[in-house]
Symmetry: C2
């Protein structure tokens, strides 16, 4: 089983076969701070053609409102209800179960704000560094709070040993929930640098606590369930576009959507060859193309 490369011959039929398009953001619409080739025109064209549009992102560092601001500023004709972030999903979930305790948060300002938007109390974010050595720390300096009912993990550039230690100790209580925004190992960047993602933080705490986090971001179907609650979506006429097979494409397959991989982010053609060799069907997209703007280019040819 191989992925089909988008071409002029199939572009029109391909686009006509969908009513709804789900876009991953980092690596599809932009890389870091740089908008990718014709991404804005392509998304706006599809929306103007009457497609339902959703932005489905594993990034938990911004609230939905902040994402909307970024999208609008870059020229995307977007609306807040079209945006599903992994942080929003976690916060909505905690609100839905009427969570009343405090969250121990390994995460960002944006994630913290999303929790507060849903009425969820959380611990302080930002640096929590080790001022001494481990034996001194565990034998006296550590302060654990008693009201923690969940450990929640999102991207946190201040991940540190004390944070991992605290999370593992809260999780020693089997009643403490363990939730994560996503498990992406790295970020797609426009610079040639490996930038560790939330998956690193999740694995560190999972290893220390010997527990497994409930992950809300792609490839979990939680994101599809959340947007399906808002409006009717026919999976058979829905396209998922992403740059990363182990999150975006797996997500599409888990939700029985058609999948398109763009090669402007994490997954490369070399990876696709490997998936084919290993018969990893869950990672193999139905279609692929170099960059999102190719869709518009092909339609115009």
């Amino acid at each position: 089983m191989a992925a089909v490369k988008l071409s002029k011959d199939i572009a029109r039929v391909f686009v006509n076969s969908f009513d709804t398009v789900l876009f991953d953001c980092d690596g599809v619409l932009w890389a870091g701070s740089k908008v990718l080739y014709r991404a804005v025109e392509t998304v706006n064209y599809l929306k103007d053609s009457g497609k339902q549009i959703f932005y489905v992102t594993n990034n938990s560092t911004k609230t939905r409102a902040q994402y909307l601001e970024k999208l609008m500023k870059l020229g995307f004709n977007a609306d807040e209800k079209e945006i599903a972030t992994s942080g929003y999903l976690v916060a909505s979930y905690l609100e839905s179960i009427n969570f009343q305790q405090t969250v121990y948060l390994i995460g960002s300002k944006g994630f913290a704000e999303e929790l507060r938007n849903h009425g969820i109390k959380h611990t302080q974010i930002g640096p929590d560094t080790m001022a001494t050595d481990m034996p001194t720390y565990v034998n006296g300096q550590i302060e654990l709070e008693s009201e923690i009912g969940a450990v929640v993990i999102g991207f946190d550039e201040h991940l540190s040993y004390p944070k991992i230690l605290k999370a593992a100790n809260y999780l020693a209580n089997p009643n403490c929930l363990f939730l994560a925004s996503n498990a992406d190992e790295t970020f797609p960047m426009e610079i040639p640098l490996v930038v560790p993602g939330t998956g690193v933080m999740v694995k560190a705490v999972e290893t220390a606590s010997q527990r497994t986090a409930k992950v809300f971001g792609k490839p979990s179907v939680a994101m599809f369930e959340a947007i399906s609650k808002q409006c009717k979506i026919n999976p058979q006429r829905t396209l998922m576009i992403g740059d990363r097979c182990n999150t975006d494409i797996s997500f599409g397959k888990n939700c029985q959507l058609t999948t398109l991989l763009v090669l402007s982010g994490v997954t490369s053609l070399k990876h696709l060859e490997q998936y084919k060799h290993d018969e990893q069907h869950i990672l193999m997209p139905d279609f692929y193309t170099d960059v999102l703007g190719d869709i518009l280019d092909l339609l115009e040819q």
Copy 2:
């Protein structure tokens, strides 16, 4: 298959069946700073009885010389050549391959000293914290060195996001070696606290780099090979004593030794029941007892 509990009836035959005894340290001889029940008398008795003794520890935070000092201070009749630490193994390995570049070290003062003792250059240890946010950091502030030929991971209470990021970027070069002292998830402590171990650091860097570290500590046979180079050891007449099945007992089995689990550390009887249920033979010790000093108690009865 179940483990046999040590009893008065078999204690003498059991002890007579070995010429060599390998001791794990944390959780067997001591927990944190507290010596466990009759540990010193038991080890010294076995040595006085003519057994070859080795201390085989995954702890990389002390040099062999520092371990010797601790053992002597506590009353163990020890000698430096009886001590094999995971840090010593890593340093010896790098020396054996004539490693000339610089090691990027996530580790402790003791590990750094062990590297220097073997003539291996390494980067500075200690805190390396994030003074800004990730985008600012990766777009300007990060400084990567060019002479790094290996990423080496040991226990480091100053683990941080910048350290994980740097390690992952050095490892993006496929010629860069990736070595770890050990993969223990936690430390056995005398206080009721979960204290994350080197395994957490290894998993974090493995996740970010999508590479797998070569681990020198138990259950790797590297430790047995190192002590076997020093003197003749007959595996059939050798006993491995440990408190942790996924390191100590697996190690013993990997080296075809007889294994004794003491319940004074990480692994509990509940775990043994689970291993039995799951048919995890590699984790099931041949014998078990509550604490090391039981051996002496049983011999004296």
